[in-house]
Amino acid sequence: MKGKNMRSRHGSAIITAIGMGIVLLFVIAGVQTFTSYRTQTIIQESRRVKALAIAEAGMELVLAELTKNSAFATHKLDKNLVWLATENRQQSLQDLSTHGFKLNSATSGTYSGKIGDGTFRVRVGLIPYADDPKTTNIDESLSYLRIEALGKYDTTVRRVDAVINRRYPAREFLMYDGGVLSMVYGLPNLSNKNVFSTGHLYGHKGIEIGRIMLSAHSPVGHGTTQELSDMNAIISGAGGIFIYSPIQAQFRERRGLPAKTAVIPTNTTFPTGGTFSSPQARKNGEMPKEIADANPDLPEELRPWIKEKNDKMSMNLEEPTFTTYKTDAKTPKGLFFSKTDSSNKSIKYRMPAGWTKDNSPTLDAVYLDFGSNLRTGNVTLPANFNGVIYSEKNIVVKGNPPKDIHIVSDANVFMAGDFNQGGNPNSFDDFYGLPQDYEPGKNAMTAIDYAPAIRDRFKDDAKPNPPFRHHVAATVVARERIVYDYRSPVDCFENEIYPFMKYKLASAMGSESNAKANCLDKNKNGTINLKSGSTEFEEAIDQFFTDYPIESAESAAASTPTEDALKQKLKDLHANGNMNFDDFDAVSREVWQGYASNYETKTAGTRGEPSAAAKQSSYGVYKFLSGLRAKMGVPDNGNKKDFNPNVITDSPGDFLYYPEMTTNAMFISCGELNTVFYAGPDVVKYYNKIGCLNNDVGLRHSETNHFVHRVFGSEINLRIPAEPKIHRIDASYYIPPTRRKIYDSTLPHMGIKGNKYELVSHIVISWKDTAASEDEYKDF
């Protein structure tokens, strides 16, 4: 009975169980499906993110390769950005096992490797775009790169396709500063102006511009102001653009905008009682708290030319490729000087007080003179020279290098005279080096740049196969500082003093009118007429050297060989009668060598120490300088406070040139500013320049109205925190020259193609990330 009842209930239990089971199954299946879908989605998303990160890493690695070697490329591209043939290349990066980074070795084509759990393949090539003639400081045909990077993680592939704008700051910028670019130069109580012409100005942490109004943050009479001419753009990477006084500015035409002349109005009042993090910081160039973080307003109408931090033009630069430079300099095609070099180029270079770390009176240096129209240099370049000179010591350099060149020092580079501005010996106009002629009515103190015909000589240098190159695309790199050394007048003003000396000598030997006609006025066919009487002639020669002594009074009394030998040589000429221009020039060069070589002491292995003669105001070179200024109509030799430069009479038709030192190169220094430097419109700013001091010379020849320093090219101060930190300069103050900082528009077009040492910055201007297939990856 009981068993039968149980059986009779059996059917409903099973049905119930099955029903519940089915319901449970649906629920479990639903939950499982949902969970599985979510899991799969998350896994896929994570793979995509990883693959994208790997592709991005590949792109960044190629950018790092480009930074180390600006000539790096894997493929050619056509105008439609289609990849063409492979390019030969060298990889600079090294494997890093701790980060799972390994590069596949290859010397051409796609760049590939492994990073972490994934692999990448990258192509990079130059976009064949044409140069825009409207932009003088950029060669667009070298400015755009396509990078296509594929990253693969497991079976997932992602693609990053980007266009990179490659910038060449040393060729594009007139001035670049890795800190705050300070454009406050000059002296108080003056109405003169410094001029900055063409190119871009860039301050990575801001820019300050204004006239002198303070001294150690206390008010003084307003002084030198700054002027901007033919400017391309003023750019702040991050930080404000501080304008302390109205600044006259001319801006270049841009596409869609005409050129503009404007006054940039004052937008910042520098607080005289500002707040600084420490008294030392105040002396080291720190901006006061009151304005440090400000982003002062700028006129809307100037926005196309003035880019402040919100305009995203940040360009942070890595240090130059020192390792590559050194490696290449050590090959037989380069020139290398080690710390222990004992060749005849290695010297002790005399330094003023406060300039050396241990107060030593000299620095170990390599002395490189590339020669000029008037002298033979001491540098012999190796056969098939690769363009690199590297010194582990300081370098002292001057003269005109014969080839596009990179001069690199592990320490400082001293620019000790005119550099890289050769005259053409086959062109009469270029007889004394490059003619420094200005447009009629202008002179070195009133004009911004040379007359157009002279400027064209430089532009011609960038053309293919020019008949003569007045300058080359020189790069000067210092791990510490680049210093302009104005101490030697025979090196700084040789091209100006020599023609004047020649004119004075011709006047002494014959007559002033004959000398003027045949030495000053451009007339190569003229003859130098000698005085008819030999006694009269000899007395005139003696008088010349009395007026312009080569040696000091004590030495002359003791009848020294240089002056006496030259006197005799000149006296002997009388027997031969009148002289043509070339013969007279040959003799004059010997006389000039007498003056030039007697500027320094002749201690072997030492340079930069003025001789006894050079420490006296009677030294002929100073008297020539003084006479030259007087001849050009400079009142009181430029020493008057209210000096009016308009009174200078500089005719383009003669060989009289206002004293001017020209250094032409891309000057790249790495060291942090470590000197006395008061931020703001302040006069107390010690630059990397050595002027002449009273106790060193017989004539202060390097003051504001005495000469012009023409920096032609670009000044790049990277301010990279160096190890070890560069020592502080705490030198005596000197009166700075009038500055002309002029951009060299041939730089983007000369010596750049295939140059692997370029200082470059890369900016992403087009970006796309997309999916890609495994087949695409395999075939890439």
Partner: protein, 215 residues
């Protein structure tokens, strides 16, 4: 005697059966409701992810985020920021044509066109202070003479039902262009019965600007 169920047995069986079925239904129903809840909550997460990914991609492809859009604020002000109509994210994307010879460009012509893109918020109900917001994306193309093509401007709705959405930058010293753009986005379920148990998700992301101004 014929075997069978008595009425009492049948009733007891039916009662047990109905109790079992009721319990089963309640279990099933609760599970289904929970699953639906989870799916709905996940769709909030998906909407957040999708929207932020969309904006992130957009910013990464851009060249220039326009100054002031969004405004830079001090870090301590971030928590006080609230959704409003004036809080906008505005940037530009440039499209270059490298096949052109720049020397042949006419006066005022450039070798690129650009799109100006703006993300902005609108309340779904202007009268309701607690109204959720809608995120819009507008696009204004410019021609190669740098002139806007207003007739081709368009607006696209990215997401509705937003509880909070804020764009901002941080005031950071010596950082070009602000460096990062921050987006705080909060979504809350509006269909849940119990107001206190509404699912919400809030994410703040930062996007590093990559591109640059072509000039």
């Amino acid at each position: 005697m014929r075997k069978g169920f008595t009425a009492v047995e049948l009733m007891i069986g039916l009662i047990i059966m109905s109790l079992l079925l009721t319990a089963l239904y309640r279990t099933f129903s609760a599970t289904r409701r929970n699953a639906a809840e989870i799916v709905a909550n996940h769709s909030i997460n998906d909407d957040l992810d999708r929207t932020l990914l969309r904006i992130t991609d957009d910013i990464r492809e851009s060249n220039l985020i326009l100054p002031g859009f969004p405004e830079a604020v001090e870090p301590m002000e971030v928590s006080t920021l609230a959704t409003n109509k004036n809080n906008k994210l505005k940037f530009e994307k440039f499209l270059y044509d490298y096949s052109k010879d720049p020397s042949t460009l006419a006066a005022g012509e450039v070798n690129y066109t650009k799109n100006e893109i703006t993300y902005y918020l609108e309340p779904e109900d202007d009268q309701d202070p607690n109204s959720p917001w809608t995120l819009q994306r507008s696009l204004l193309p410019y021609n190669n003479k740098k002139q806007p093509e207003n007739s081709q401007a368009s607006v696209y709705t990215i997401l509705r039902g937003i509880r909070e959405c804020v764009f901002y930058r941080l005031n950071e010293q010596h950082t070009s262009g602000g460096g990062n753009v921050y987006i705080r986005l909060k979504l809350t379920r509006i269909d849940a019965e119990d107001e206190t148990k509404k699912y919400s998700n809030e994410i703040t992301i930062s996007v590093k600007e990559r591109g640059a101004n072509p000039e």
